[in-house]
Symmetry: C2
Subunit: 441 residues, 2 copies
């Protein structure tokens, strides 16, 4: 009777974790290069903080429970809602507040390829700026982070919730079913026009309006903007959204996103809190597809009782990145340990331990035997772990202070004094970097 783990969650053994750590570290480096600063919030939030913020579908997916004091709590389903709560409670934060957070969130969804119940998001947000530059800064940072991971060939889908609201307004559709329509449109790529039309009809929208809604989604790029400008002229809200969209395209070159922006009026993004630009980053490289998404949420912060504060952000899906990059990044999963200090004879163990500590003090990652094994087994262990050097400590070595340092890859032994080991290891490591691949090391 082996005990497992909850469905949709995963363990990451060291070889896997090294790759995840590298992905997260590279993303973090780019976030910090762009001036974003890290903030952390609890995994647990009060239920009333999470409730109604993301919309009905997300709300159903929240892990919700009572603590032992009877208080209703939930596990956060994203990193944006907790950020909004903090900003609302900390009105004196200097603006713009550029924060990042790379951390776990939880959703009770049906697990499937690349979708888990516990997963990591890498989230950046700019709080306090109502300007399109803030949205573009998020997009540009996200794309730079993806470039840092070796991805290219980006397509940045953009839309604007104000345009979506304008469509509903101009068509004279009741406001209360707007969110339902948006959710239906959001599924267009996945389920196709027929299914979307059926879903919108089911909300009580007349046939003619259904087909006009679908018309909006048929145009892409420049053409789409012209079409919408003509159709939605009566809605000042829509006009605002169109101007924001145009400004995004205008700034795309300065922000390093030239030629990537694609207008798509079926892009909604699932969460209910978006109010303006919404966006999604796709890349064709390595067959990834959609890898980041976000948008502007100018009214979320005031919902927590804070003053009205514009904000925008984007999240990168770390799980998807891990899934796609883990194979080629396996080369990076070498052990940190450089030297295994092997010990011949139980009586020399204290010396071996002390020598190992000397290497560690010189910042050479080192291990010694912790299992009282014979030399042969110790060498096998070092070999199986891919540790590149073995320092052998026996009675002779303890007496003379002269050691053998074995290069495991090239099967060469060097004679060396203990104090010279760090320099030798550093030198050999450096020289083995280049020719290693030729030697099949």
């Amino acid at each position: 009777m082996k005990l497992g783990k909850p469905r949709g969650t995963r363990d990451f053994l060291p070889d896997e974790m090294k790759i995840r750590r590298e992905i997260m570290d590279r993303i973090r480096a780019i976030f910090e290069l762009h001036g974003f600063e890290e903030m952390d919030t609890p995994a647990l939030e009060l239920w009333e903080v999470l409730a109604t913020k993301g919309g009905e579908e997300v709300e159903r997916q929240i892990y919700k429970f009572q603590d032992k004091g009877g208080r209703w709590l939930g596990l956060r389903f994203d990193l944006t809602v907790p950020l909004a709560r903090v900003v609302s409670n900390t009105p004196d934060l200097p603006k713009p507040f550029k924060r990042y957070c790379i951390s776990k969130v939880w959703r009770y969804e049906e697990p499937q390829s690349g979708r888990f119940r516990e997963f990591v998001q890498a989230d950046i947000d700019v709080v306090g700026s109502a300007r399109i530059e803030a949205d573009m800064e998020c997009l540009s940072t996200a794309v730079d982070a993806l470039r840092e991971l070796g991805l290219d060939d980006f397509e940045v889908k953009i839309n604007n919730r104000k345009i979506l609201e304008g469509m509903v307004e101009v068509l004279g559709i009741e406001n209360r079913i707007a969110e339902g329509i948006f959710h239906a449109l959001d599924r267009l790529e996945k389920v196709g026009e027929g299914e979307v039309a059926r879903a919108i009809r089911a909300l009580g929208v007349e046939e003619e309006k259904v087909s006009r809604l679908l018309d909006f989604t048929r145009f892409k790029g420049e053409e789409a903007i012209t079409y919408v400008e003509n159709e939605l002229r009566p809605s000042s809200k829509a006009v605002e959204g169109i101007n924001e969209l145009k400004r995004m395209v205008e700034l795309s070159k300065a922000f390093g996103l030239e030629g990537t922006m694609v207008v798509d009026f079926s892009l909604v993004r699932g969460l209910d809190y978006y109010t303006g630009p919404v966006f999604e980053v796709k890349t064709k490289s390595k067959g990834i597809g959609s890898i980041a998404g976000g948008g502007r949420y100018d009214h979320l912060i005031e919902k927590f009782g804070g003053i009205s504060t514009p904000a925008t952000g984007i999240s990168l899906g770390v799980e998807r990145l891990y899934e796609v990059l883990s194979e080629e990044m396996k080369v990076h999963a070498a052990p940190a340990t450089k030297v295994f200090v092997a010990c011949i004879g139980e009586e020399n163990l204290p010396q071996a331990v002390a020598f190992c500590r000397e290497l560690i003090k010189s910042r050479i990652p080192s291990e010694t035997d912790l299992m009282g094994r014979k030399l042969g087994r110790q060498l096998e262990y070092a070999n199986s772990k891919g540790i590149p050097f073995v320092l052998i400590v026996g009675p002779e070595e303890v007496k003379t202070g002269v050691f053998k340092l074995r290069e495991m890859g090239r099967k060469i032994e060097h004679t060396v004094r203990l104090e010279d080991v760090p320099a030798l290891v550093t030198r050999l490591e450096g020289s083995s970097q280049q020719p290693a691949s030729q030697e099949g090391n």
Copy 2:
């Protein structure tokens, strides 16, 4: 109606998070220098994995709830139980398996100074070795990590569960109340002898045995070992424990813990899964007190259905470290951003953004204005954030390609071409490191 966060949880704004990140990074570096490798497991575990593993008191503190499928889950209360589950399900891991994990755990306790319901542990474990070297390696690595954080003056309290069990055996006390006695002893330092005696009496232990139990706790160091060797000779289990204890003292010099080991027979460590050596690290520096604790748990892994596997480990309390070190580490909380690219005139914004991106490409952390502010407000922002350099981009600069780089601290302006900014910033940064404190920068 502001919305807060659950009691006993905290938000960490960037200035605080930078310090936490640095504490965790330094600990991580030492763990890796000692050859420990990172592993990650879910925050959520099946209830049957968590239940009964830590003992009754801990079990009451677990956040326990049903998921939407009716499955009972819990938030992990430590990092050892999940590790044991993984090892049990992965029998082919090379041994010793040296893993570290620096991550959050949850306990529903009454929050008080330094104790929270969501907190970070920095945990290392050696799995697969029954030898004392493994316990010593954990202790030595933990102490090295604390040294890396500038702490010294360590006291390592040690005891052994086999000795505690031997006491109960020799005194002829029933086994079923042993855990109760251990829990009472564990509180000795906190509540004093009178309270402990009362608690043990309440378990039905006769007066004479109560006072003999307390006698064991009165001796410390060498003397304690001699006393216990005489008293517990009839228990082979106790003798085993005493020999392990002596071996720890014997190896203390090799493991860099000379003169720190103090035998204390009232040391129990709260968790029920310990089977051999238990230990606790204290430091007098900065008034910290107990800061790390752990022990051997040779029977935990088989409880998950795996093969019997010896294991030992220790956890550092990151919250306590943060509490004590945050004040002096504030100097490290400078912003990552080196250059603020200020923009004069809306029409120059695209140029300012593009220049900022050039600096970022040269790996100089840089920001530009995202709020359409006047120059004066932009400089105020850079100043308030402590950003050391401002590059000014106006119509003249865009035309000539020659810029002013303002050193905010020394209020000096340098004239520079864009391509020379990264080198200049690096040079100025380097030269300002030493004299900064003299200049009151």
